[in-house]
Symmetry: C2
Subunit: 295 residues, 2 copies
Amino acid sequence: MASTVTLLIAPLPADAPADDVDATFHEVDASEPALRVGELSTQRGDGIFETLAVVDGHAQEAQAHLVRLRNSAAICELPEPNLEQWHAAIRRATSALPSTGEFALKLVLSRGVEHGPAPTAWLHASPAADFTVPREQGIRVVTLDRGLAHDAAARAPWLLLGAKTLSYAPNMAALREAKRRGADDTIFVSSDGFVMEGPTSSVILRIDGVYSTPAPSGAILHGTTQQSLFEHLEHAGERTEYRDIPVAELALADAVWLVSSVRLAAGVTALDGASVTFDEATTRRFNDYLLSPRD
Amino acid sequence: MASTVTLLIAPLPADAPADDVDATFHEVDASEPALRVGELSTQRGDGIFETLAVVDGHAQEAQAHLVRLRNSAAICELPEPNLEQWHAAIRRATSALPSTGEFALKLVLSRGVEHGPAPTAWLHASPAADFTVPREQGIRVVTLDRGLAHDAAARAPWLLLGAKTLSYAPNMAALREAKRRGADDTIFVSSDGFVMEGPTSSVILRIDGVYSTPAPSGAILHGTTQQSLFEHLEHAGERTEYRDIPVAELALADAVWLVSSVRLAAGVTALDGASVTFDEATTRRFNDYLLSPRD
């Protein structure tokens, strides 16, 4: 089996019948050029993406990721994606991958070539990095100022804060800054003192037995992994809540996690240099659940 | 002559001798694929760019653009570009273009392919759009909240505010919002009430005969066209200044311009729906200067 799959996708209108979608896929070799320099994704980070995990042949939460892709498209005024076409692309890629192991499957919808007639789209699946250490031993985290108030999205929707856009250079710079500070990852905090999100993850705190995550105000992404985990916790009778979380609560929490689609749940062991209790047993249960087939 | 030129560039280290740079250029057809899907420029807007004008065969302010490219690279922790190599690429592209007319020449330095060994780079030159109307008749502008305090860059350098990165999706969204409001362009204002910049331009005001532009605090780009125009004004005995400009001063100004490398000087004729005096004669002098060969 191939360990990487790259499909160029000719996007169908949202309401087009998806009964002959195979003709809209074109498999390419990822080591060969596939995109033109006029691509607005590359010129201006002007497009959106999703990254989902494929675990032992199963694409995790494909529908939740595609619903978020559709939401990002709406925020960015991109043509509404045809979810059936994307589901078919995910199925085709997944069936070409080995039936065991973990893979990262990235979906990209770009505004297309400058002055071009249509968006461009592709899917790229490749082996996931080995996340054994962050899953089992946790991560050190520093907080970094995101510069924006936690209600910025309502005042300035053109900042596209609720969309998962390709304009991620500041997110990558924040991760470099975290590493420079001796940490593994970062939690963005708003200029008015609220917990936001990681550059590529959602934040979950547990205080007095209640699992909390920042309210999806539009200034942060609504995390697919966080939502899946909250549903799982609720089914198990645990209490969960969405609310504005002042930064000071990070230090009061009895456990903190960063959760994301491919690394899954990583417990925080240190926050800005201070130790945080790492709940190894709960983190293992989280990851056992997150590695099980989910839809 | 070709009206578009695309050169893929194998970036040399900053201190490498640039005596055989032609071997580092590979001319391609812009309509053919040239970039891999693993490109971090396209996956994460993770790279930097410059756009300069070529007017009647002359690349305008090439050195100023390359110095800014080098500054952007430093902020983004990209390898320092070899400016001699970039100058050679600009010369090669310029010599291949027609000797009359206006062209936009875009330089891109990307972090490269994910997990790859080196950055990737390219240059793409194409005919400039026809900017006769905005130059001669001006533009309507609305102000839009940038969400950030005007001193955000000092507090949060990981936001990369002083770098011209490829993560421009919010800039493009702000232009769409401006058009939705019946305007042609926008001026970003900081959350604490200061004038910042346009999404692809610098702001210049004239109040009581003094030309002012926001101080380059790091939260905005230092505009190459604005700098060139200020030098020109100073040589002509005019007064110029860099300072923090409260938004309220926009309404007090006797003229406002957005200036950029390819559209050049566009006088503002309306601001948030209120008329602004359009100084047609000065704007024409600005554009006569900006269209003359400049280094």
